[in-house]
Symmetry: C2
Subunit: 161 residues, 2 copies
Amino acid sequence: MILSKTCIYGIQAAIYVAAESEGNYVSISVVAEKLHLSFHFLTKVLQQFTSAGLMTSYRGPKGGIALGRESKDITLYDMIASIDGTELFTECMLGLPGCGHAEPCPAHDHWVEVRQKFTLIAKNLTLQQLAKNATKLNVRLSDSSSVMSAIDFAATERRKR
Amino acid sequence: MILSKTCIYGIQAAIYVAAESEGNYVSISVVAEKLHLSFHFLTKVLQQFTSAGLMTSYRGPKGGIALGRESKDITLYDMIASIDGTELFTECMLGLPGCGHAEPCPAHDHWVEVRQKFTLIAKNLTLQQLAKNATKLNVRLSDSSSVMSAIDFAATERRKR
DNA sequence: TGTATTCCAGATTTCGGTGTCCGAATTCAA
DNA sequence: TTGAATTCGGACACCGAAATCTGGAATACA
């Protein structure tokens, strides 16, 4: 698993918020229900986004979460970094502490190619694009209630266990 | 962590065997000592290599492990696949079960690029190359006893905990 | 044949990621 | 002012990966 489950849930929730809420606050319980996740667990996940500034939250009735800035200014890299950290983009494939340009591990040069490509993509892929793809996907699948057909499918799979 | 620790230990051990043993059987206890790993644990890791045919083992005095075929015919992909499996090369970044060409997730196209590049590199990078880089590295660092300077360094870091 | 050496197989423990739960703090509305 | 709705923060349980331990089987050699 390249990303932790916690991180994946966070990204899915962010896509949902970006695609569904039009700047309004959305209750976490609603998001949790749509994605078929535990409400309490999603709460903890999203707290990491809010403390990183990617989202803002508001307590009380009519409260909830919203994007902290425009979806075109939130990248996949931002989301991954605020939950899983940046190790994925910097670490050695063989887990060797000293590995770098000066003291490369046997696989260093090859792995750096992959790492850099991933970093580049993650930093250029915005939440706006992800949300747009998600809605486009919905049109193609022409699925019923939710915009998040694919994510909904994952949720169904998850529920089976 | 892109690879499991188990997998990393296995790859390190394989590099050691390829670089140090000249076709002879090497005792697992020797490898474990060099890499500063638990002997019993490394035993279990290497069993996965032997059952996959990447290595052969021999019991009794003068026994140990050796490469199952020439180091140029063992790829990084082989080693990863036999311990961590092939999910890494096929799975969706967002963990969506149905994700694929037909029903792509919002990040599918971008992730596939990275995944393919990694797969290509892993399938073309052989144990022979890795072992050569390891010895080359040693020359550059001109470090004392072991050929595996970088790996040795990692082992030292590990021991600190 | 006996013994030391080595890998094999399985049970057990440790540990970190995952997930649950509950009380506290904040805000809105009656 | 009171009560309901909501996020916040921490405590705790669960589960699979990581690591350890124990006994057994195969082999070489004296």
